[in-house]
């Protein structure tokens, strides 16, 4: 019996990373800006996305969404009311989306051709931990936080907030009623990711939506330049 050390030096999520790289190339070639939306359950990802899809449509942009949940197609049905193509991904117990699921759900998506899209939104499973490890081939990762969740949430979940390019504060319309400390929230988000873009929004009143859509348009133009 001989003992031997075998160096592997391999990423544990290599398979996911490779699939994600393939997706990213595909998205870039098609000219579609892809965003991965991550938050706790109940932050308001779906309401935020409903408004985003609706207003993008009003601006003449073409957007579609993939929406992840453990079970049910409730969110897909809600989002489809915006008129945008929407497809549900049920993970059946898995707490995050993986690149393979994205690839699979892009196949045979009736009426959707990536080349004819400006934006593709991927609404991840509600979870602030696990999705941070899985690259989905997105260009922009968006972390959402609602005013009811506590201003210190970014400090509690630094891995996710640090991996995000943009942060959305949702439910700003009730900020005052719930005693939301805006300055502390902004400070905490920036403590975790100093160069992050922050948007303060309300899906109900539409506050902050224009700045958010301008950001999307600028990011898209920037990628095309």
């Amino acid at each position: 019996m001989t003992t031997r050390i075998v160096e592997l030096r391999q990423g544990i999520l290599k398979k996911n990373d490779e699939l994600a790289r393939g997706l990213r190339t595909r998205f870039e070639t098609a000219g579609v800006l892809v965003l991965n939306l991550v938050s706790s359950p109940g932050t308001g990802k779906t309401a935020f996305l409903e408004r985003t899809l609706r207003e993008l449509r009003a601006r003449g942009s073409r957007a579609a969404a993939l929406v992840g949940d453990l079970e049910t197609d409730n969110d897909a049905r809600r989002l489809a009311a915006s008129g945008a193509p929407v497809r549900q991904i049920n993970t059946h117990g898995i707490c995050h989306l993986e690149a393979e699921m994205i690839g699979k759900h892009l196949e045979g998506w009736a009426g959707v051709d990536l080349k004819n899209l400006d934006y593709l939104f991927i609404e991840n499973v509600g979870n602030l931990v696990c999705p941070s490890s899985y690259d989905l081939g997105e260009r922009i990762r968006v972390a959402l936080l609602s005013v009811t969740e506590g201003e210190d949430k970014p400090l509690k979940y630094p891995t996710l907030f640090n991996s995000a390019d943009a942060a959305i504060i949702t439910k700003m319309d009730i900020a005052e009623a719930v005693g939301f400390d805006r300055a502390a929230a902004l400070r905490n988000i920036r403590a975790i990711r100093p160069d992050i873009r922050i948007f303060e929004t309300s899906a109900k009143t539409g506050a902050g939506t224009d700045l958010w859509l301008d950001y999307l348009a600028a990011e898209k133009a920037h990628r095309e330049a």
């Binding site: 592997l8 544990i12 490890s133 891995t159 403590a191 975790i192």
Partner: protein, 122 residues
């Protein structure tokens, strides 16, 4: 709690790498896990026993090498480990630092195996 799927990937990768060493038994698996990898060592250890059961990795040790978060500071140009995950600032000059150089690792570094004696078929 995605540690079980992480550990399952580790087991699959290690088994594939054993193809070159027929009959070998794994005694140790060494991982490099960054502080920003969103993975908890206790959960990895807990899942490891379950995921290795009935495989050539059964009974092996899982060694987790935790890698601290290192940033490059745009202000002073130096690299350094941040003092806490709640504050991404340069440890030298205190400026906010977004350029992460280490801490996102989630890798299998190496495995230790016991090879079957020559001529012995597994």
């Amino acid at each position: 709690m995605h540690e079980l799927s992480i550990v399952s990937s580790v087991v699959d990768t290690v088994i594939t790498s054993l193809e070159k060493y027929p009959g070998a038994r794994v005694t140790e698996v060494r991982l490099n896990v960054g502080a920003l990898a969103a993975v908890i060592e206790d959960s990895l250890q807990f899942c490891y026993g379950i995921a290795t059961d009935g495989t050539p990795l059964e009974g092996s040790r899982l060694v987790v090498n935790l890698i601290p978060v290192t940033v490059h500071c745009a202000a002073c140009g130096r690299d350094g480990a941040i003092e806490s995950l709640q504050s991404f600032r340069c440890p030298h000059c205190g400026e906010p630092a977004a350029d992460i150089r280490h801490g996102r690792e989630l890798d299998i570094d190496a495995i230790e195996i016991e090879e079957a004696e020559e001529g012995v078929k597994p």
